[in-house]
């Protein structure tokens, strides 16, 4: 009896020191953090928002917008560098000036000079009926990934309303969430995921129960051919208006050739160039062509492609969602965790996803 009691207490201690305790700690950290606060030591540098209209009357917004975003972000407790400070810093440290336009491949080098965690820049274009289109580039230094978002809003006479709205979007992004529209029940979903068998049945069960028809993408396999590790490549999505991608420039690749190369070698180099053009330089065109075929094959019934990537233990996931009618990335979220002490991590995560899908607001379901 004594041994059984000792074993039981030992087992109980094991439970307490298991991941559940880690979840409690994580939950406590999240609770104690103010809404929208990334670490206070996060440094965000702002570049200009380039005026693409050609109308010089709007040039003043090139600094007004980023300055306003910076002020709004600083109020959340983060370190910010406004465009003027960035320009001064670059000039002082490496004899460079802050440009109004950057190629994606230039960002890593630039942000290293700034020693910032995030660099935000972009462009704007006034539209008819007092509207404005903003394209923001958010470059994450640690992962070398860039999130490009396009938003169209009203050019308010009191511009702070527009700034506030954009700041909320940026704040959500800093907390790993970006969503531009509600996905109503009844929408046909094509689900890609890296779980299978029992777990993918749970996914389908949860979506069907909430009234989301599930199209038979991936569901006709007994086991998924999508390996867990490789599936995470779907985290990076490129669409016309919004993208989450990595910075690179394939044109900087060297394809050595000269008079010393033969016909076969030259043919191979041309073929490689074609591959890089098709799958990198012109990837968006290539992808849209594939998505057109994808949609046609399923007779146009797919409304959204929902991509859900689980980690190895299946208690954390990320989401990407593409609107198939508009071919647009409409939802990015990562770090979705299962509820504390849940008995089914996959179902817990899927329920959170479904709650967020159906919500009109821009905040994720908790």
């Amino acid at each position: 009896m004594k041994e059984l009691y000792a074993d039981s207490m030992h087992f109980l201690k094991g439970i307490i020191t298991s991941t559940h305790l880690l979840k409690v700690m994580a939950f406590t950290v999240i609770l104690s953090s103010a809404a929208g606060s990334v670490s206070a030591s996060t440094t965000i540098a702002f570049g200009y928002l380039r005026n693409e209209s050609g109308d010089k009357n709007y040039n003043y917004l090139e600094t007004i917008f980023p300055n306003s975003f910076a002020t709004s972000t600083a109020a959340l407790g983060m370190q910010v560098m406004k465009p003027h400070a960035v320009d001064t810093h670059l000039n002082a440290t490496c004899n460079m000036r802050l440009k109004k336009k950057y190629e994606l491949a230039e960002l890593p080098g630039l942000v290293e000079h700034l020693n910032a965690d995030l660099f935000i820049y972009g462009s704007f274009m006034p539209r008819p009926a007092d509207r404005i289109k903003l394209v923001l580039h958010l470059y994450f230094r640690e992962s070398r990934e860039v999130l490009i978002i396009t938003t169209i809003g009203r050019l308010e006479t009191e511009i702070f309303r527009l700034v506030d709205r954009i700041s909320i979007i940026m704040n959500n992004i800093l907390n790993k969430f970006y969503k531009v529209q509600r996905i109503p029940a009844g929408s046909h979903l094509a689900i890609l995921t890296n779980v299978d068998g029992l777990d993918v049945n749970k996914l389908y069960y949860a979506f069907l129960k909430q009234g989301y028809p599930v199209v038979c993408v991936q569901s006709t396999d007994l086991s998924t051919p999508l390996l867990e590790e490789r599936f995470h490549k779907f985290r990076r999505i490129t669409t016309d208006k919004n993208s989450y991608t990595v910075t690179n420039n394939w044109r900087l690749m060297k394809f050595h050739h000269g008079t010393w190369t033969g016909i076969t070698y030259n043919q191979r180099i041309r073929y490689l160039k074609r591959i890089y053009t098709t799958y990198d330089g012109d990837y968006l065109t290539t992808k849209n062509r594939v998505l057109d075929t994808f949609s046609t094959t399923f007779r146009g019934i797919i409304d959204y492609i929902l991509i859900i990537g689980f980690d190895e233990s299946h208690d954390k996931a990320w989401v990407r969602c593409i609107n198939m009618k508009k071919r647009d990335l409409i939802w990015i979220q990562w770090g979705i965790e299962s509820e504390f002490l849940t008995d089914d991590a996959v179902l817990s995560i899927v329920h959170q996803i479904i709650s967020t899908m159906s919500m009109k607001s821009d905040t994720p379901a908790k």
């Binding site: 009896m1 049945n201 129960k209 038979c216 991936q218 490549k233 394939w250 900087l252 490689l272 994808f294």
Partner: protein, 191 residues
Amino acid sequence: MRKSNRRIPLICLAILLTVMSCSQKRGIFISTQKVAPSSAIAIIVDHPNNIKNVIVARFMAKGFRVIAFNASDLYSLSDVFDIRDFKKVSFNTSLSDEKSLLSMEKTYDNIYKLHVYNYEIHKAELLNEMKAKWRVRYLILLDLKDWETISWGRAVDLNSYEVIWVENYPAQFGDTTDTIVSHFIKSMSGL
């Protein structure tokens, strides 16, 4: 500490563990549409032939028209054009050239992602052909397991391309292949 006082936390712990372990084996079931017994169906399973025979016999006994079909002949991941390009992504670059490696990685990733979409397109085209040629209406997927594990099943309507029936069934003590298949048939057809 008195024996009775020690027993109480142990009993509570035992109940808690039992509840937790039971919840892990909880079944799920949903059906948006019944699979009528006179329907033509194709069954995908990954079991030895003797088990396959039991499964098919059960369905046929209930009046289903089972179309003979072997899933491994239907489609494989390599039967898609993009796979050729995997082999051609060049390693003809210096490992110290970080920009080139990043481009190579991104291109490789994009090829893989498009490959997945093309694979699904390929499967859907084959299923469509199956429906047109052999008049198959439903695709049934089954994975049967022993007691203390969970068998699962799924049905796809090839007319609408939708998943219409899903079940995770924890095998009961005394369940056999026959009884589990009968349970699934009852569940998907409402008989």
